[in-house]
């Protein structure tokens, strides 16, 4: 049986700044909370293709699983949690502007 599709967001790094971005309903956003949560595999495939075609603004597009049970997407893996927040030794990255 194929693995059930888990809620996910599309993520990448911004070409100019290199920081983490997510695909929102109207383009790339910096905050995971504003990302579009995709629940359907076919939908994800299409959105990934669209996102991958924007190679002039982002680098390294991929799908990352989230927990959307609270209505706001939360990372399910600690790597995505660091990407969403920034490093733990300084208040740099996303947490700087949060």
């Amino acid at each position: 049986m194929p693995k059930a599709f888990k809620p996910s967001v599309i993520t990448a790094n911004a070409l100019l700044e290199g920081d983490v971005v997510y695909l929102g309903p109207d383009g790339w956003v910096r905050d995971l909370a504003d990302a579009e949560v995709i629940t359907d595999e076919a939908d994800a495939d299409i959105r990934l293709l669209e996102a991958g075609a924007q190679a002039d603004t982002v680098v390294g597009v991929y799908l990352a699983e989230v927990d959307n049970s609270s209505g706001t997407p939360e990372p399910t893996h600690f790597r995505e949690a660091f990407r969403a927040k920034g490093p733990s030794n300084y208040a740099h990255g996303k947490q700087e502007t949060a």
């Binding site: 790597r79 920034g86 490093p87 030794n89």
Partner: protein, 554 residues
């Protein structure tokens, strides 16, 4: 110090102009990422977890004050006001923006620094003993030959697409401070019948399959060194596995073919190419050696040192741990700790970099070194000036007296920065240092090297740590594997796995149990952790680490 020629300067200017045009074309959408990525990597520019990362080479770890000041300027102008010194004598900037990088490279070029061959499957930055040119036990300064190797390898047409990256380290002392046995090629200056030559070690490396290098030749004469290196690298270039990235390093080539077979092939290749080396390299070496002439040392009163040593316990403690014997007895080698308790190992702020540069200019013959242990060295300071140096350092948070002690931890960037990481390293280092500072045991424990990597690539050298910590991802949770008994010196050894890993919450208490066990087990204060481990083996440390397992078995 090697002085650049007009040719070198023109070469850098041209490379930077080329890269500037490539960045512009990428931003304008004329180059795809697939086309651009190899170009940016050729100029030391990575894309990491939260930002780009620019890796700048500090050849054999040597810097002039003006170069250090430029590194500070760059940190302030285009980054977040600090830089990270690594185990490969590089500095990494963690937050540059793509369009600024060409300006950063131009700024570096103003002081003859660059990021060429800090990435890619080429011969990387040649590293050397950080006490080069100063250590009391040194046979000869390893830097002239390191510079010669750098000039030979930079843009060497045959060696731009090796099976994997290739690392060379050089030491001029019997005591190995450059970890030469964990490098693709390690060179040690040795003497035979009054003549200086090189012991050549090949096939060491860390990563997922750690190996200690093997002696390929026990004595190579100076004039035969470059042809020997050329023969080794071309044999590896042909023979190295290109089918599997994980088996591509020369350590695997040596392991799979055997050192005798490799030696026979290198000998054969050497015979073919020896004549191409007509002695020009030896003329170059003489010129380079002249550039590295030792500074003129002064002779002056050292009473200020004696007074501070007697009356200032903080100075005394710092002098005991952070100074090393200089070949001139009136002088000392100062190791400046970038490991203040609770701070990020290897990070220096722009202010700190400027202070270290000023101190080098005023008291240290304008010389600084970066150690593979992520500290900064002032190689030549007169003893009479040491109290002034110490007071200035302390005022900027650089006076920590912990060189070689438990909080002088090497830690790779781990998952806080590195895209390859499977767990974090920095917070583990911070917590261990803070914990032992609270316990006030650090000086009692004595020499102990803890080294931490955030993945199997082993940038943090955990395999050669007396206590090594490797961060792993166990089902989406950070987990830490401990190894014991590793050693990166002339007695190099790979650490043994202690047993199952520990969670992020458990790792610091686990390290504490090992250290407490050592304090119980050592014969006396003179017996170091490593000596105790070598005498008793893993078993007593294992029972300290896993008390439940012991109870179960009983």
């Amino acid at each position: 110090m090697y002085s650049y020629t007009d040719f070198d300067a023109a070469f850098l200017a041209e490379r930077n102009a080329q890269f500037r045009a490539q960045v512009e074309r990428r931003i304008a959408g004329h180059l795809t990422e697939d086309e651009f990525k190899p170009l940016r990597l050729m100029n030391g520019l990575y894309l990491q977890l939260h930002a780009y990362m620019l890796r700048v080479a500090i050849p054999y770890g040597t810097l002039k004050s003006a170069q250090m000041e430029k590194l500070a300027d760059i940190a302030e102008r285009w980054d977040k006001g600090y830089g990270h010194f690594t185990t490969r004598q590089n500095i990494q900037y963690n937050w540059p923006e793509l369009r600024d990088v060409p300006d950063m490279l131009d700024a570096l070029a103003e002081v003859n620094l660059h990021a060429i061959q800090t990435s890619g499957n080429t011969i990387r930055n040649v590293t050397a003993d950080h006490f080069a040119g100063a250590a009391a036990d040194e046979i000869a300064d390893p830097r002239p030959v390191a510079e010669l190797i750098r000039q030979w390898s930079t843009d060497h047409p045959e060696f731009q697409f090796l099976p994997r990256k290739f690392k060379v380290a050089v030491t001029g002392s019997p005591h190995d401070r450059a970890v030469i046995k964990a490098h693709d090629i390690g060179l040690r200056i040795v003497e035979r019948d009054g003549e200086q030559g090189f012991e050549v070690v090949v096939g060491g490396g860390l990563g997922r399959t750690p190996m200690i290098g093997k002696v390929l030749y026990d004595f190579v004469r100076s004039e035969d060194l470059l042809p020997t290196l050329e023969a080794i690298v071309s044999v590896y270039n042909l023979l190295g596995r290109r089918d599997n990235k994980y088996k591509a390093r020369i350590k695997i080539t040596v392991h799979e073919n055997g050192i005798e077979d490799i030696r026979a092939r290198v000998d054969a290749r050497y015979k073919l190419i020896r004549d191409q080396f007509t002695g020009v390299d030896q003329q170059m070496l003489s010129r380079i050696e002249a550039d590295f002439a030792a500074p003129t040392f002064k002779s002056a009163d050292t009473a200020a040192f004696d007074r501070a040593y007697r009356y200032d316990p903080a100075f005394q403690s710092w002098a005991d741990t952070n100074l090393t014997a200089h070949r001139n007895p009136e002088y000392a080698i100062v190791s400046i700790s970038l490991k203040a308790h609770g701070k990020t190992p290897g990070d220096a702020s722009a202010r700190q970099m400027r202070l270290m540069a000023q101190l080098a200019r005023r008291y240290g013959h304008d010389e600084l070194r970066i150690s593979h242990e992520q500290n900064v060295i002032l190689p030549h300071v007169h003893r009479g000036d040491l109290p002034s140096v110490y007071n200035a350092l302390r005022a900027e948070g650089l006076g920590t007296a912990n060189i070689g002690l438990i909080s002088d931890i090497i830690a790779c960037p781990g998952m806080d920065y590195c895209a390859l990481a499977t767990a974090r390293s920095i917070p583990v280092a911070q917590e261990i240092a803070t914990r032992f500072d609270e316990l006030k045991l650090e000086h009692d424990v004595g020499p102990l090297k803890i080294k931490i990597s955030g993945c199997i690539n082993a940038c943090g050298h955990h395999h050669v740590g007396h206590i090594g910590i490797l961060g792993l991802d166990r089902a989406g949770v950070e987990n830490y594997q401990i190894t014991l008994g590793g050693d990166g010196t002339e007695d190099a050894a790979i650490g043994e796995r202690a047993g199952p890993g520990f969670s992020a919450d458990e790792i610091v208490p686990a390290i504490e149990r090992i250290v407490m066990a050592y304090l119980d087990l050592r014969e006396d204060r003179e017996e170091t952790f490593l000596q105790t481990y070598r005498r008793l083996g893993l078993a007593p440390f294992k029972s300290a680490l896993y008390p439940e397992a012991k109870a179960d078995a009983a």
